[in-house]
Symmetry: C2
Subunit: 501 residues, 2 copies
């Protein structure tokens, strides 16, 4: 087969992938709208519409002819490397999707809905028992899904792989054990030290002023409003339709400025990644951000390594003091820096500090393993949850709403997802270490308000690769080391021993 | 074939139609977003995405099996009347769509885009010559489209039929001639009378206050914010994803309050229609508003017959005076009423008063006929346009921007569309006459702020039928007369002779 014939075939593949992306991005817009502007009455039809489009996308991605096209392409010896990688990754995904029997797809979709409704109701009545029967169905389906997909050692591996290609329980065990031991040890030292006050973060702050400051922060870190926007939603999130249209949301509480600040920087970090993907690879693996760990490494790098650092606030704190003089006029930079880094075991994952956050994840990881691998009965969940919180964080869970009912993930069937949050933080620390090595005077640069060198580095070391590499492969490529726990522990030890000295 | 088998077949038909509607309504959301919130950078991909989804929808609606299914259904003697009508109308549409050769569909899509871009550029440089070559291509395609579709007497009939089923040039000729003569005669009388001042409508009015007043007006006429919302856009429009999610937009100029007021009421009228369609017929002709004339009759009834009436403002003017005291505190109701009904020939269609508006339409109608039926060369358009404006409205067109380049319709290939605006007004006047007959003390009711009886009447006489009837059929059914010019002329003569007495 001549080279040009190969490229003609590849163009057909590419065109199909772009059409598929167009449909998937229409779904993404429907979902964005649902969370931001859709009137309440629109919910029922929106659900139906999402099902229709998801079904269309599924059919497009699992069609026989599409598989045959890819098989032909993979047989072409002259298919260039990048193009080959695009086809290989897509074919891998195709084969996974083809494993699903129609009744499993239907059952999953139906159970997402009933589970979500039961979860809402359970939260309203603060009673896990209402959620339990539906969650039980979901867990059974996820077990069946794991068997359908297959796994190297344990059923839970199949679910991990859905969120981070190739991730296994065995890998996690090693990393998480070390992490747990070290965090708990650091935490117990911190708890014996005098604690700073974070009262300034709970003072009243006008909503419009908060909003404006959020926009300022997004602009400061390089978010491009020509190719993106920010809106309000109940839960902050990032979505992208293509690198030229990336949307973040935030939320504002009058007595919790920290929610606004770090949701803007966190989602902004996700968005910078999306805005930096190679636009000419639209719809293809090389143009998509599919690794959740890499995605989270971007948001956490900006949120924590930069957004909770002294250099960053050396530049931006005066601006905050100017915009929201009460109470910040009376608080000096160092006290503000201590306040935003207060370490304090708590009940709610999304409100946790940078350090104890991972204990929340480890608890969920333990539970998910037990649910999937050991078939722990769902009704025993609250007891286990509460025991783990008492044991690892030393807090008493007062009710289900502040415990087992707090996260939405399980009703979406997202098991194996939580670990990517922690791996993202570990990876962020590895990028951070490498950044400090590669950019001279990084601290001084940030303290002068320049984040552009960081963004440029991320663009050329990470964003440009789309989803060609797994988190582990990319980490090795960029830092010379696999994804591991050391960088994070070094970073955390240095930061918090200094802060609490 | 037993009854239940027929209904099983019908369910398959209905399901397909609902899936198709889901895709079309995703397109509608993509377009809504494009006009309201999409960042500038998103335009290129959005265009591509819209093409993909339109193509998917086209394939779904022209599939062989779908046609065969409908043929089978139409052969079922026991198919109930409403269901039969749904299938018949869909089949009619299917047959029209199937006539299009693939290359014509592609050429039309491509030319929409190039035409639109040329129009934007031509407007920027205020020079029709930039637009002309692209428009010429579009006109040639529309001529080909007319031949493809077929027509009873003249090619232009085929294009009229696209916007109002069964509408022909012959019907329009009769109506428009009478309308033109009578409007020009009434206008020349008006122009000899003393003219009121509409300066109050051009005074400064704060944007937020205008916005709030717009929301108040929408609420007043019965727009349901649980199943709808309003946003800002460059050109006001209404879109609907289903009766439970209907969206209007408006625009605000600080020195032109009238834009806000009557765009809210006009789009609100469209939206009330959409919110009133039978929700259980989602996706089917009985649940869709497909007649542009009926749609426009709704918006014009609310905008003009009600929204520019003395009874309506008897109730709402005090509210306006309270909200925007300067200048309205100093203007009494009758002077306000005169101001909002000032008749004055002008250059721009969308800014025209209720009476001269139709002369703008008649000019476009004359030009379209010449373009399509007589193959008038596109380059002669500005001259013809300017001559008609001088002749019918007595105004001199200073440049292309205030003349031939003002409307977007032709770059969308929407020829045969303009006449539906005027027919909508005529029909609105017929509804209005009937409403006055059917609702005792209508004026007093409106003057007490009650528009609900009007809405209820529209719901039960018009909205409930979706697109089962053409404008003409529905008019006959509701008023006992076909769509004709008399009611409008009576309404206009009475209103304006009184106003200018």
């Amino acid at each position: 087969m001549s080279k040009s014939e190969t490229l003609v075939l590849y163009d057909t593949f590419k065109e199909h992938m772009q059409r598929l992306a167009d449909v998937k991005n229409a779904i993404a817009l429907l979902e964005w709208d649902q969370e931001t502007y859709m009137p309440a009455g629109g919910a029922q039809f929106r659900g139906q519409q999402l099902t229709t489009l998801a079904d269309l996308a599924h059919r497009m991605s699992t069609r026989d002819e599409f598989g045959q096209l890819m098989e032909k392409l993979l047989d072409c010896a002259d298919l260039p490397e990048l193009e080959r990688k695009n086809v290989e990754l897509t074919y891998e995904d195709y084969q996974k999707k083809r494993k699903y029997p129609a009744d499993l797809v239907k059952a999953l979709t139906r159970t997402y809905n009933t589970c979500f409704m039961a979860w809402i109701q359970a939260r309203r009545e603060n009673r896990f028992a209402i959620f339990a029967p539906e969650l039980e169905k979901m867990i059974a389906l996820k077990q069946r899904e794991a068997e359908t997909l297959g796994y190297p050692a344990q059923p839970y591996d199949a679910l991990l792989d859905q969120h981070e290609r190739g991730l296994t329980t065995a890998t996690l065990e090693q990393i998480f054990l070390e992490l747990k031991t070290q965090i708990i040890s650091l935490l117990s030292w911190i708890q014996q030290r005098p604690q700073p006050s974070d009262a300034c973060l709970h003072a009243f702050a006008d909503k419009q002023q908060q909003w404006d400051f959020g926009i300022y922060l997004l602009q400061s870190i390089g978010f491009d409003f020509q190719t993106g926007r920010q809106d309000l939603s109940v839960h902050p999130f990032t979505t992208s339709f293509n690198p030229h249209d990336v949307r973040v949301t935030t939320r504002i509480h009058e007595n919790q400025l920290s929610t606004l600040i770090w949701s803007c920087i966190h989602e902004g970090g996700h968005a910078l990644y999306e805005q930096g993907l190679p636009v000419e690879q639209y719809g293809l693996p090389a143009g998509k951000a599919s690794s959740l760990v890499i995605h989270e490494s971007q948001s956490r790098l900006w949120e924590n390594c930069i957004g909770r650092s002294l250099p960053f606030w050396t530049y931006h704190y005066p601006e905050l003091q100017k915009r929201i003089p009460i109470p910040f006029r009376e608080i000096d930079l160092v006290d503000f820096y201590k306040a935003i880094n207060l370490v304090k075991p708590s009940l709610i994952r999304t409100e946790a500090d940078e350090l104890t956050y991972h204990l929340h994840i480890l608890i969920r990881y333990e539970i998910e393993k037990k649910l999937i691998n050991e078939k722990l009965p769902v009704k025993e969940l609250p007891e286990l949850w509460n025991a783990l919180y008492a044991d690892m964080l030393g807090v008493q869970v007062p009710d289900d709403l502040h415990g087992i009912l707090q996260d939405i993930h399980w009703c979406h069937g997202s098991l194996g997802y939580f670990p990517t949050y922690t791996l993202g933080s570990l990876l962020a620390a590895q990028w951070w270490q490498q950044l400090q090595h590669d950019i001279a005077d990084l601290d001084e640069t940030l303290a002068r308000g320049h984040t552009r060198p960081v963004l440029d580095w991320l663009r050329s070391h990470i964003h440009c690769y789309g989803s060609l590499y797994t988190a582990d492969e990319l980490c090795l490529r960029v830092t010379g080391k696999p994804l591991q726990v050391e960088a994070f522990l070094d970073y955390a030890r240095e930061k918090f021993t200094r802060l609490y000295a």
